[in-house]
Symmetry: C2
């Protein structure tokens, strides 16, 4: 099988980590019988400055017509309001209907109270519909934004969460890891005590989906978003799959990343039907850009996550193991992990372990 992968480095360290993602795909053992072809695609603030569009039509077209998946680096946000600029990754998620943003957060296995959870974030609506308006009043300006929650989007994201819970259970059962201790659970996060209609719809739809017979072994739990953040920090090992509307999911996944030491470790995948874009959770990190010291692990894990959603679980497992080997080895770590290795040195150590 040959997979065609779009490479969208974007801005800042995106340009340093996306090439690492390409390298690991090219280095996968030939026994997997997987081949890759690549196409370089533009997006980001730099692209906006040069062309007036943060997400060129060509990028969307090629992804739609030619590609099986893609890898997205990071984009810089302008530091001052910039007319006409709007985030290309948010647009891409909508244009390709990548309705789920999946963010696994896992501590090294040797941790005392190991964290192994995944945040399943709805990726197309909520406040991210970006329908805003501003008007003048005698007391000054007022701005409004729409938060939109639909039964359809809530239903498919809850289905995704349920399926991920089942898949995680299968993996735990087959590897014996986690054992009897960890059972499958989906925690529905919302704020329906204030937003009874919007978050209420998310909550009731997700409950309904997860009450279907195929999920009978998956426990349903609920948390109000503020309390979820509190619990995430106090008892992170209690959680398995957390499903949330777009904005809460955005916040929770950065919070969860803080738990495992560095944003530089945390991958994500933007997933639709038959298409996935891997995307490290970190940003463009202008402070370290160009120094060659960015942690490539979030990107390498995002590559693996993309492969999982394209049905290539074996190849994904290879990458995860090589990355875990590097982390447990503890010798070739990037500065965010307390080490002094360069991006390339970390990549090479991981390639050796493939």
């Amino acid at each position: 099988r040959t997979l065609r992968i779009g490479l969208i480095p974007g801005d800042g360290i995106g340009r340093e980590v996306v090439p690492a993602g390409r390298r690991i795909l090219e280095a996968l053992p030939s026994s997997l019988k997987l081949n890759f072809s690549f196409v370089d695609l533009d997006a980001g603030f730099e692209t906006f400055r040069q062309t007036g569009a943060a997400l060129p039509e060509r990028t969307v077209e090629i992804l739609k017509k030619e590609c099986d998946g893609a890898l997205f680096g990071a984009v810089s946000s302008p530091t001052t309001p910039t007319k006409g600029y709007s985030s290309p990754i948010v647009a891409l998620r909508k244009r390709l209907d990548l309705y789920a943003n999946v963010r696994p957060v896992k501590s090294v296995a040797s941790a005392v109270s190991p964290i192994d959870l995944v945040i399943v974030r709805e990726n197309t609506e909520d406040l991210y519909v970006k329908e805003e308006k501003t008007y003048d009043t005698p007391q000054g300006k007022v701005a409004e934004a729409i938060k939109r929650i639909s039964e359809r989007a809530s239903s498919r994201i809850a289905t995704m969460a349920g399926e991920i819970a089942l898949r995680r259970q299968r993996v735990r059962d087959s590897t014996g890891s986690g054992g009897a201790a960890k059972k499958s659970m989906v925690t529905i996060t919302h704020k329906s005590n204030v937003l009874s209609q919007t978050d209420g719809l998310f909550r009731s739809t997700a409950r309904q989906v997860l009450s279907q017979p195929q999920y009978k072994d998956v426990e349903i739990e609920e948390q109000i978003v503020d309390s979820m953040v509190y619990k995430l920090f106090r008892q992170p090992s209690d959680y398995d799959v957390i499903v949330a509307p777009n904005l809460y999911g955005d916040i929770l996944s950065d919070g969860a990343a803080a738990l495992v030491g560095s944003l530089g470790l945390v991958p994500s995948a933007n997933v639709g039907d038959g298409f996935a874009i891997g995307e490290p959770c970190h940003g463009s990190a202008p402070d370290i850009q160009g120094k060659g010291i960015a942690n490539p692990i979030a990107t390498l894990r995002s590559v693996a996550l993309m492969l999982e959603f394209l049905g290539e679980e074996k190849a994904a497992a290879k990458i995860y193991e090589a990355v875990d080997g590097n982390l447990e080895g503890g010798k070739l770590l990037s500065p965010d992990m307390g080490g002094s290795a360069k991006t390339d040195e970390v990549v090479e150590d991981i390639l050796k372990r493939l």
Copy 2:
């Protein structure tokens, strides 16, 4: 001076901690020349079940006409959607125009990297305007909520944040605590990379307010809300005052509470012009209700915070010191703190230290 204080226990452990708040006010040393009179007021889910209104008009009227301040316990949220029920504390904040929710989070002084920050949360608008609607489409139900941000509310909350930063600096200067290490800073939290108009308005208004000459010694910093949560967990001692729109402030304050060990320690005050309601950050905690083991400290600190905003800083300082004494003593702690003391025992230890 005699202050008249409304007591609104609400539901669950609210009924166990609000009496503790009354006791500490009555026990303040007479040298402070402060007297208190009290009025018991109803609100909450239990009140809703009995009367059909979660916030009776009488409660609002008496607070407006007779009281100088109040103490609010906690309310239970219904576990299933309940027609006609809506949170009385959210309503109270709006009815009394208590536009700021102030939440100081402080670790014990002996901590290695001490946390001493305060979250200043806008308290009247954002998604809490609760303007929602639901409609049917061929793909199912869709619900929408309005997020409203005004220049006026953003401006007054930024002013409050600036004033609090200056007051904290004065206290640090006068006590020598913090020393040269900690300087005044207000961190504006928003998501203007996605919500350019609403959060953009919050951001630009706050920047403008804090750029005025009276705040020249207060550094202005900004964080996108997801990154703020990450940083809050990774480098909490970097922060001083954090100002945020309503919902982000709600989430951040629970997150910050997790940092200092227990929600049972974290106070808040709902502040308007000349009026303040103290409110512990924890909820009604149905799991421990009636057992007499709720931690009263969040409430006692909320009483102190209320007194601060009513201009009684000396009385407030007395309470803070007595509470710190109890915590540093480390002998009479409630179960959430790893101890086995009952609510009353904690209260008595603190009263002795007044």
